[in-house]
């Protein structure tokens, strides 16, 4: 609690423990329900990294893959990749 006070004084917005817990829970629960093991998601994520890496300059740790539940109850695989530009390599058209 005291930490959040200091952060608020400094104008930093840090998610509260309550908000953290809720967000993390919504994530695991969706994974548990989808019956897609997190290990499989991780393997998919690693392969996505390998593919994207061939063409784009990326921070491998910043490739994120997660399941989200759509309105109609189906699961969507959502990936978030931060790219710092196109790789300069033969066969890749320059920007």
């Amino acid at each position: 609690m005291s930490n959040s006070w200091i952060n608020r004084l400094l104008g930093r917005s840090v998610p509260t423990p309550r908000a953290c817990a809720k967000e993390r829970l919504l994530g695991v629960v969706i994974e548990d329900r989808s019956a897609i093991p997190s290990s499989v998601l991780e393997l998919v994520r690693l392969e996505i990294v390998e593919v994207v890496k061939k063409y784009l300059i990326i921070d491998e740790q910043a490739v994120d893959l997660k399941l989200e539940k759509d309105e109609d109850g189906t699961y969507a695989l959502v990936s978030h990749v931060v790219s710092r530009g196109v790789r300069k390599k033969e066969g890749i058209p320059a920007a």
Binding site: M1, T16, P17, A21, K22, L26, V29, D32
Partner: protein
């Protein structure tokens, strides 16, 4: 007639969230309302419901003795010393979950129905294995107990899925050990947060505050539901009324922490 009997399993997935305490107190509160209540401890090998009720010294036979024919159900049932219309069927302490099958547990529930009880509450063991399957076998309704804490909510979600697979749809939820001050300071999941995570197939049956009186009354072997002053006791009595179909508003737990209430408490507590 025995079709009117309510058979409710009390589950959670995770251990230590208050299943046994909930079973004992909701059962006691239902008995106070005049229901004929049987409490069945399905946690074979880890008997605890007897302690929550203060009946540990009365046990002669247990559920395994009944299943294996060494005792009749009537002999194994222990009448509560305070409430004549409350009875407990103890779990065996020296055996394990594999000592009974789901079919046998179902048979015991059927026999309990014939005894004229109006409510049968089954205290389910933690976990999702055989013990869970045994405990849910004879039930037609389910209560899921959870704490406003991550591991417990996650396990509750798993259990809700497994209950549905067993044909127990739309379980009722009890959020146990809520600390209103921590929720207000954004440090703890709120009841609404828990509901949002678990989805709207789950119906909120009760909210029980984290309350020292649960510990002291359990230590004395007196279910807190019998204590007029206890907020947790009131929460359990409310659960019983809701189970009986009454619309009971959820307590404003925050109010109880106010100055006036503390002041009042000075005069009402022993």
């Amino acid at each position: 007639m025995s079709d009117d009997v309510r058979v409710v399993v009390v589950t959670s997935g995770k251990g230590g969230v208050g299943k046994t305490t909930t079973t004992a107190n909701v059962g006691m509160a239902l008995a106070v309302q005049g229901q004929k209540v049987a409490l069945m401890d399905a946690d074979i090998g880890l008997r605890n419901l007897d302690l929550a009720l203060g009946l540990e010294n009365r046990i002669v036979y247990d559920v395994i003795d009944v299943v294996e024919g060494r005792a009749r159900l009537k002999q194994a049932l222990i009448r509560d010393k305070r409430m004549q219309n409350l009875a407990m069927l103890p779990a065996a302490q020296t055996r394990d979950k594999s000592a009974v099958t789901a079919g046998q547990m179902k048979q015991v529930v059927e026999e309990l129905k014939e005894e004229g009880f109006t409510f049968i509450l089954i205290d389910c063991p933690a976990g999702i294995e055989q013990g869970f399957k045994n405990a849910t076998a004879g039930a037609t309704e389910a209560i899921v107990v959870t704490n406003p804490e991550m591991a417990s909510v996650r396990d509750a979600d798993r259990i809700i899925g497994l209950l549905e697979a067993e044909g127990l749809r739309d379980p009722m939820l009890i959020v146990n050990r809520i600390r209103v001050k921590m929720v207000k300071s954004q440090d703890m999941l709120s009841v609404e947060d828990v509901q949002e995570v678990l989805g709207n197939s789950v119906k909120l049956l009760g909210v029980v505050p984290d309350d020292n009186s649960i510990i002291t009354s359990t230590n004395r072997g007196e279910p807190v539901a019998l204590s007029k002053e206890s907020v947790a006791g009131q929460a359990y009595r409310d659960v019983a009324m809701r189970l009986l179909g009454q619309q009971v508003p959820f307590m404003d737990l925050d109010e109880r922490n106010g100055f006036l209430d503390r002041f009042k408490k000075l005069f009402t507590s022993k």
